[in-house]
């Protein structure tokens, strides 16, 4: 599992990367009431704003962590945005991306480095 400075977690699953946001992020955002996910099949470039999250407090964007193609999105999360609060690193995942350059994963933090960043 890798982590971005934007509080996304990236979990390899076969040749895909599953992306969500960390428990630290969901705690900071508060109760999440709306999630807008990218379209399946969309080709995205690293740092594109591809997800909108609205908490009771404010809207925020999630950036594409990698270049690639969106191959699956969590429709259960769109129907029940609270999943992101309840199970941030499990059922609250956002999308699965097929990276066009898997080496982009190397620049992200491991768990120890991420925990140090939010400490």
């Amino acid at each position: 599992m890798k982590y971005t400075e934007e509080h996304e977690w990236l979990r390899p699953e076969d040749d895909l990367i599953v992306v969500g946001i960390t428990e630290h992020a969901t705690t900071q955002l508060g109760d999440i009431v709306f999630v807008e996910l990218p379209e399946v099949g969309a080709t995205v470039t690293k740092d594109d704003e591809i997800v909108v999250i609205e908490s009771v407090k404010a809207a925020s964007d999630i950036l594409a962590p990698l270049d690639g193609e969106i191959v699956e999105v969590n429709t259960a999360l769109a129907d029940n945005p609270a999943l992101a609060n309840e199970d941030a690193i499990g059922d609250g995942w956002f999308f699965k991306i097929k990276p066009s350059d898997p080496s982009q994963m190397d620049e992200y933090m491991d768990e120890a480095a991420y925990n140090a960043m939010i400490a």
């Binding site: 508060g30 109760d31 009431v33 709306f34 807008e36 909108v52 609205e54 009771v56 407090k57 809207a59 769109a78």
Partner: protein, 372 residues
């Protein structure tokens, strides 16, 4: 941070684990560990305790109530003269253009008028009233905190401390003894729920708040849920939904101007901006309305409104919006041209470059539970 004022309950907020934010020059709790959503739902289900000590508490005195009331009626277009003793009423200070300087609550306290004004406006309000009311004395009460206890359990909780609380009706005012403190209590609030606002001596505020929080039905509630509660209740937030550029007619606040102050009434007009406001009642070109986004995306303050998905001319703006936890969907209010403001009309908001439909809806979005 050091420049921020603290309320008498500041230490209590910190001990309760509140997340603090700067609001109107005060360091205030925006939420507690329960979180905004649950705080909102708790208030509608049981009772919430709010610290609203940042608001201005003002005493206006003069030779007698009648003369103070008559003087205030030159600044505020509501019936103050005939307000019975120990009754409270909503009102606003207006300007020459018919705009709203501030909205407020005022009460007949026998020998004086007790006024509660918005935190961000209080210095201006007091300076303005002091100049405009030369025969009255305008005094800010700085040695009292202000608490709000709101929700269906509020009566049971408060009457356990002083049984007289149960005898009060909506908008009644009384002096009660709560946890040993002499409190000025009104049966009102700003959540759409039954409840009380309690002015308590600052040095007894923490004891009272702690006594109220000891009841199993009472939870501390921050400014975050205060905002979503008042939005669902269709109540205006000064500086957002109303300001110096909106008249009471635009803001659909004509209900607050009693017949006696309107054209044809016994004390018609005679207040600042009357020549603009009175003819506009029922004839305003634009109107504050409730708006329900048809999708799930909240639409917040500043979202521009259009008559159709492709229209190029903006017709209005959302002035408050967010997720309504009790409604279970996004809710908003904003201004629209009167001819497009009918309930059921579809308008379009532009959010992140996309046009999304909203339906004009009656307010409040959740039924009011006042004890009339």
């Amino acid at each position: 941070m050091s420049d921020l004022h603290q309320t008498p309950l500041h230490a209590l907020h910190l001990s309760l684990g509140a997340k603090m934010v700067a609001f109107a020059g005060y360091d205030m709790p925006v939420q507690y560990p329960m979180g905004v959503l649950q705080e909102h739902l708790h208030t509608r289900a049981k009772a919430g305790l709010f610290d609203v000590s940042h608001m201005g508490q003002v005493r206006v005195t003069g030779p007698d109530y009648a003369s103070v009331a008559a003087a205030l009626e030159r600044l505020i277009p509501v019936d103050i003269v005939d307000l019975p003793e120990n009754r409270q009423r909503y009102g606003f200070l207006t300007n020459d253009a018919g705009g709203i300087r501030d909205d407020l609550m005022l009460a007949n306290r026998g020998d004086h008028v007790f006024v509660v004004v918005n935190a961000a406006c209080k210095a201006d309000d007091i300076a303005y009233m002091t100049v405009q009311l030369p025969d009255a004395t305008v005094t800010e009460i700085t040695d009292r905190a202000l608490l709000a206890l709101q929700g269906p359990a509020a009566q049971a909780v408060l009457s356990a401390l002083d049984p007289r609380a149960a005898d009060m009706r909506f908008m009644d005012v009384a002096t009660l003894t709560l946890a040993g403190a002499e409190c000025w209590v009104s049966r009102s609030g700003y959540t759409g729920e039954d409840g009380y606002e309690i002015s308590v001596p600052a040095d007894q505020a923490e004891v009272l708040a702690t006594a109220l929080l000891a009841h199993e039905d009472v939870a501390p509630i921050g400014l975050g849920a205060r905002d979503s509660l008042r939005l669902e209740a269709g109540l205006c937030l000064y500086g957002h939904d109303i300001d110096t550029g909106t008249t009471p007619a635009d803001a659909a606040l004509g209900w607050a101007i009693q017949k006696v102050r309107r054209t044809g009434g016994a004390r018609a007009g005679g207040f600042v901006g009357a020549e603009v406001i009175l003819p506009a009642l029922g004839h305003a070109a634009r109107k504050r309305v409730g708006l329900l986004p048809q999708g799930r995306a909240p639409m917040r303050e500043g979202v521009p409104l259009f008559a159709s998905e492709g229209a190029t001319t903006q017709i209005g703006t959302i002035t408050s919006g967010g997720f309504g936890p009790t409604v279970g969907a996004p809710v908003a209010m904003g201004y629209l041209p009167t001819d497009l403001s009918g309930t059921g009309t579809t308008v379009w908001g532009e959010l992140r470059g996309k046009r999304l439909p909203l339906t004009v809806a009656a307010m409040p979005f959740t039924p009011a539970n006042f004890k009339r």
